[in-house]
Symmetry: C2
Subunit: 190 residues, 2 copies
DNA sequence: CTCCCTTGCTAGCATCGCTAGAATATATTG
DNA sequence: CAATATATTCTAGCGATGCTAGCAAGGGAG
């Protein structure tokens, strides 16, 4: 019976609509403006349908965050494979990461300062999350070898993350961004 | 007329009471549990008195955050001056920073993930904020000299910050913390 | 045609940050 | 001392929030 199929397809499409609309609203007006009421109004359904798809608002943000992780991973991959020289490759990855955080602040916020229910470093970690970290790791590998690769990657990533969050919250002057990136890259170029 | 003096004194004491109570509640139950209603109940005053002292809930959190910056600064100073060897001194500062973030998560949250209205790197930056940064800078100075001192300090601090925020949100396995700290210190020890 | 079960809706709960305006206490006058 | 003026604090309520119970409509099965 193809009716059932149509149903599940429509349901999937509506779930996608919820995620996309939530993201659009957040990018246009910030996450605070994404209320369940306004979101349900925008998708032209009532509030409770949101809860038939997601456990709550946090779960919707987490779904948007997952999209963000996927996009970040592909952009990091492009940056990494954009050069054969390990130095430039790592610099490209770092720049791509920074560019992502700066140009998609709402996505970055959902990915890191909220969305606590997305587990990391765990067997059931979503693939999108592991990919992004993997790209950074593969960019770091040619420079440091396999010794402490995982740990070094974590520190490099955390440094990038710290730089971007402090920059975005006004803790670091934006005009010195390039100099900070240069220092960071120099520190991690054995 | 000493009556006026008593008044302003009592008012100062009540303001202190608000801040201390807010902090206690946050440390006991998290910031979400610190509502204006519950806070006013705890200090045995009505809600509007909070608004005669602070512009809003954010301002109360900012006041708590300021306490946090002061405490962090003194702990960093103790760690820095605890050793004459530059290496151990910097390691001590880093460990003290990490210890602060881990043992006072609620304070750290108010200081960094919220409290946006506290300006940094600005002439009107509160002294408490500058002191903390200053301690890190003075710990970094013996190792790197005066070249790019400011920028290098910013990167070192951001790395610490990134490590702790990612750890606290479950993005980094806690059991590898010491190894990550070792890597970070090694990276910044010329 | 009737029953049923899925699906979506209306309406409402509890709570939030915040505030207008009444009420109470304190101080300053006649 | 009484009366007015001035702070100060409270009661009550506004407009939101996330979320949910319980009802109505719709299509599929017998």
């Amino acid at each position: 019976m193809p009716i059932q199929e149509r149903r599940v397809r429509e349901r999937r499409e509506r779930e996608r609509l919820i995620i996309d609309t939530a993201r659009q609203m957040a990018e246009a007006e910030g996450w605070d403006a994404v209320t369940t009421r306004r979101l349900s109004e925008r998708i032209e359904y009532s509030q409770p349908v949101l809860y038939s798809h997601f456990k709550g608002k946090d779960a919707i943000m987490a779904a948007v965050a997952l999209q963000g992780f996927a996009e970040l991973a592909t952009e990091l991959r492009e940056a990494r494979t954009g050069s054969t020289d390990p130095q430039t490759s790592l610099a490209g990855v770092a720049a791509a990461y920074a560019h992502f955080a700066e140009t998609r602040p709402v996505l970055y916020e959902a990915m890191f300062t909220s969305a606590v229910d997305l587990t990391f470093a765990s067997p059931d970690t979503p693939a999108e999350l592991q990919e992004g970290f993997g790209e950074i790791r593969e960019a770091v590998r040619p420079l440091v070898g396999d010794d402490d690769l995982e740990v070094r990657t974590e520190v490099f990533w955390a440094s990038l993350h710290g730089l971007m969050t402090l920059t975005r919250s006004g803790r670091l002057r934006r005009e010195d961004h390039d100099r900070r990136m240069a220092v960071l890259l120099h520190r991690f170029s054995d």
